[in-house]
Subunit: 467 residues, 2 copies
Amino acid sequence: MFTLYMYLRRYDTDHENLFRQESYFHYLFGVKEPGFWGSITLNADGTTTTTLFCPRLPAEYAVWMGKILTPADIKDIHDVDEVFYVDEMEATLEPRVTAASSLLLMTGTNTDSSSTYPLPALPPTLSPLPTDTTTLFPLLQNCRVYKSPEELSLMKHVSKLSSLSHIYTMRECKPGMMEYQLESLFNHHSYYNFGCRVAGYTGICACGPNPAVLHYGHAGAPNDGVIKDGDMCMLDMGSEYCCYGADISCSFPANGKFTADQKVVYKAVLAAQVAVYDMLKPGTNYLDCHKAAEGEILKGLIELGVVVQKDKTVKELVDMRLAAHWMPHGLGHFIGIDTHDVGGYPDGGKYQRQTGIGLKSLRTARDMEENMVLTVEPGCYFIDHMIDKLLADDELKQYVNVDRLNGLRGTGGVRLEDVVAVTATGCVNYTLAPRGVDEVEMVMGGGKWPPVKDNHPECRREGLLNM
Amino acid sequence: MFTLYMYLRRYDTDHENLFRQESYFHYLFGVKEPGFWGSITLNADGTTTTTLFCPRLPAEYAVWMGKILTPADIKDIHDVDEVFYVDEMEATLEPRVTAASSLLLMTGTNTDSSSTYPLPALPPTLSPLPTDTTTLFPLLQNCRVYKSPEELSLMKHVSKLSSLSHIYTMRECKPGMMEYQLESLFNHHSYYNFGCRVAGYTGICACGPNPAVLHYGHAGAPNDGVIKDGDMCMLDMGSEYCCYGADISCSFPANGKFTADQKVVYKAVLAAQVAVYDMLKPGTNYLDCHKAAEGEILKGLIELGVVVQKDKTVKELVDMRLAAHWMPHGLGHFIGIDTHDVGGYPDGGKYQRQTGIGLKSLRTARDMEENMVLTVEPGCYFIDHMIDKLLADDELKQYVNVDRLNGLRGTGGVRLEDVVAVTATGCVNYTLAPRGVDEVEMVMGGGKWPPVKDNHPECRREGLLNM
């Protein structure tokens, strides 16, 4: 049995943010409104009975909130076996819990966020029943890791429409605009054309030096910079559709043409994505993907003249954790009903979170399996704090051209982020955005998208030409 | 001394809604980021010392969230007397609280929302100090009721820009569109052009029958209807700028031309607004404004042939609470940092919330005073639940043409809502939207706005021609 929270008011006011269903509850029941409970009964004969309990609303509710749905309406909409009022929950469920069974309750701690899904407060006559508070949470967490065909279809849809909104935004971008105007364009395009009322997360529209602030866009740095000629723009935005989200980052030059340095950095990040796609399939460990991405970033930095290879192989430099100074975040994360979806480090201890820059931020270290959906989001940024840290490390510093590196302070960085599903034999990329330098410059110049021919099949953008 | 809450995560995930400062804290300090405390010391010599306590952030924070501001930076930005770290709060404040003074803490219950501003958890050495938990909350609540010149200026700005976004949206509206596309247009126009990242409240875009659902637009009724030829559209949306919000409703025919019935209803609602503006000045009681608005609604319903006056005066029908069946909400509310701003029913008992339909929903029953800012939002709706209630009342039913009324079921309704400030001698309307039937049809037909001449000075739209 599960519950969900009611609206959260803002402090002492009656301001309520638009209600968004709790993710586990949405996963099982798809109810949009607050105040419901749900249960799934495993019957003795092996069948299941799905039950929703809806709030019994006062007649006056209709004046403010609209027609009150009856249990029959709700049964019809949500295709459950039965619907009762919340005040009938005790009478309905009590006889079902016998000496041989117990009430499995949803509670546990999300291993990624460390936030807790609190134990629901049961009605009086259910409270004395035998309960189990340990089985359900890890079980459902694990279910959510493997997407069903319907979920894959939703993820594909929201990734495609978010890609289209990115392309629209990219084309509208001009030096002299404010960063937040890009956020406004993206949100509007997704809502107006595709009905996506909310984004999956707070939009990051970081231009010029700002991509070096990884979570730019928050209340203290609200996308309020002016976009300048010569800036790289890094937009990390994704829409949400039926509670399933996309998480996509595009990087492009504000004026539509890459400089030589921008091109090297951009190509390294793209190479990092491709290196991951080349290895991503069932059995591959995601930590290895992260390190493969780091290797490509390092190769780009070597080409740029920032990293000096000396006697080391790229792999050795990766193992020295050098690349993490330009990519201090994890390669990606599960994605689904939550942007940072559950199950990255399931209980049981097989997969442990690593230590060290970058690796400690990696949201899963699992072996990949079919129907997992993840982001692949390598980046390369020139972050003062990380540069200072690197230059203070005498061992690592010898592999750096200090002047060249210092000269790139304030140039921001690049992130490319796709939503990718693991298949039986490899992976497919649901993000249908321009990725090659040629493609980005073509789209920024007003060229046709989708393209007539896929010049970058290595990006594995399924259905690109017919999007 | 005050505190504010940290981010609220969504259930067990790390999803964080965009942080929005707690309103009282914003009122006093204007800090955009979470994690701050603030104090104002009343010194023995009659001066005050304003102090902010900022979180001491780890160096790594810069990688994710951007440059860490020093206390000196913060002092500069917020123009306070001193800034310390939160961990210095005890040492700073303890010596200031002597036997002769106490620590005034912010806590209390909002009389409108019934939500509580909880007592902040004090650090150990401050906890034993003499505290006062009753003075501050009502005092600051009262301060917020009277807007300063700077606040009036902000309210004027946000009302004007929200008016412009309403006009843009109105012009783009065509039968066949989805209601949510109007919300998208409004939000985009306000954000792209004026930097308003968020709306003050969830947008209501109700067309056809839907204006009869007063809080349409919520998660269970998410503006997802198709706009049809012949529909009235009722859009209730307002932007937020520097945490000050507008709350504006416009009503217009989807196809740009009022039908005869729509015109009568619309004109009655407009007459209700004007009746209020004619009486709104210091000393006027807001309950009387509500009843004056009801009178105009009744006159329109009489003209429409829905209400049959018989032997009664309009005032007698108002006193029988007849009009409330078409306007079951309150006439308006204070507005400021919260859409439903504080202070409508201050403690002390002078102003009591009334009972009965409409009146019980009125968010203030105060005598008006200079520099109060309120919404004036009469409406007239054909709500099945209210019609059924009315027709079940044998006393009231005799003043109704039942067939005519039943024939108007499903036609939705009209609301007009302006943001209005009380001046020394009357009131000014900060909402600069088209209000006359002639103006609405002109704007929908592509005509110029602002107009060359103000055809409706009775709407008291200050600065309309130079907006």
